[in-house]
Symmetry: C2
Subunit: 219 residues, 2 copies
């Protein structure tokens, strides 16, 4: 059965792979599930038809048979539980991989988003320069711990899992900030994620949306 996901018709990240549909595309590619993409404008996202899929009017969503889901974390976990490739078979190891998925979304990503929001919305404000060091210190605390937990391993807990998929996706938001440069182990970890064939296929597919829209004069 072919899954249908939703994504931005015109992504604010200009095809850099940072919109949250990328996490779902990557999981679909890792698990080999065929999918189609329904592209939505910002106006489409707020319409009742899409609200029925996503109560907060966002992307991505996931539809397959009788299942309709929102929240990229839930969609990635759903794919990981239904298909081979993103979770170990052993029950205890599986629970740990899921803990890393939550850690990516709830412990590592929030301070990264806070810095992004400040940079987007408050860069012109008088307080921006005073808040920034505190925001970056909170990111640094998380990255120190994450780097220590990873150590010299390839992935966070044994084989590549949904936890790594989400953690690499979250760390990719730091590209361009210069912050990852201080963490060689994490930089190499992110590069290993980006080198995976499934990641590359997913990245190319989301970039193609941006390129096509630009050529059509829509971006």
């Amino acid at each position: 059965m072919t899954a249908v996901i939703t994504a931005f018709a015109s992504s604010p990240d200009r095809g850099r792979g940072l919109a949250r549909d990328m996490r779902v595309r990557w999981a679909l590619e890792e698990t080999g599930v065929p999918y189609e993409v329904r592209l939505l404008s910002f106006a489409d996202m707020k319409m009742p038809e899409h609200r029925a899929r996503h109560p907060f009017g966002q992307i991505p969503t996931y539809e397959e048979g009788d299942v309709t889901l929102f929240e990229s974390g839930a969609i990635v976990l759903h794919l990981a539980r239904r298909h081979k490739g993103l979770l170990p078979d052993d029950a205890a190891a599986q629970a740990r991989a899921i803990a890393w998925l939550f850690a990516a979304l709830n412990t590592v990503e929030p301070p990264i988003v806070d810095r992004e929001v400040a940079t987007l919305l408050e860069q012109g404000e008088s307080w921006y320069a005073r808040r920034l060091p505190a925001l970056e210190a909170r990111i640094g605390t998380r990255l120190d711990d994450l780097s220590a937990a990873l150590g010299d391993a390839e992935w966070l807990d044994g084989a590549f899992s949904a936890g790594d998929l989400m953690m690499v996706s979250v760390l990719l938001r730091l590209l361009g900030s210069g912050i990852l440069g201080g963490y060689p182990r994490l930089s190499a970890y992110v590069a290993r994620g980006e080198a995976r064939p499934a990641y590359r296929r997913a990245f190319a597919a989301q970039l193609e949306v941006f390129t096509a829209a630009q050529e059509a004069g829509q971006a």
Copy 2:
């Protein structure tokens, strides 16, 4: 088998049930899993013994047999998958309940935490009064959508689930802010959560830790 969780020996919330062990205690009570609590000081949380359980040196953690987990979302989900009481049997409904759990943690909680952090750390700063309306507007957007999704239903999607447990826990962080007062449906939803016998047992247990520490002169 008895599970062992970790919690603050002296919770910064002074027994108001807002520390994240409360979410796990509530899930343990809903599922009827017996548990013991290992209380940790802030110094204990940064020691190697606890870091082995929790890479970011936080609470709560969960140990049962060969399973050691961190991240309250992952622990609640683990309990919900292993025991009756927090997830529907139907596969599609189960996936939707898990989507609400992620929505609580990733879509609704972040702007609530941002407001808390600003109130804790920036109340004395000149910019606090100018930032606050934007922070509260972001919370309002989420609550508007959540209230519309809940409508006049008792719980978010059929019977009470792990998604409701987490959403109520997140909304409880707004108590004292006055914000929930503008959302009668959500206020009633939170009250229904607090009225559950399992919630009340969990709340009493975490309050007892605070009261005992205070009596011993530690709080």
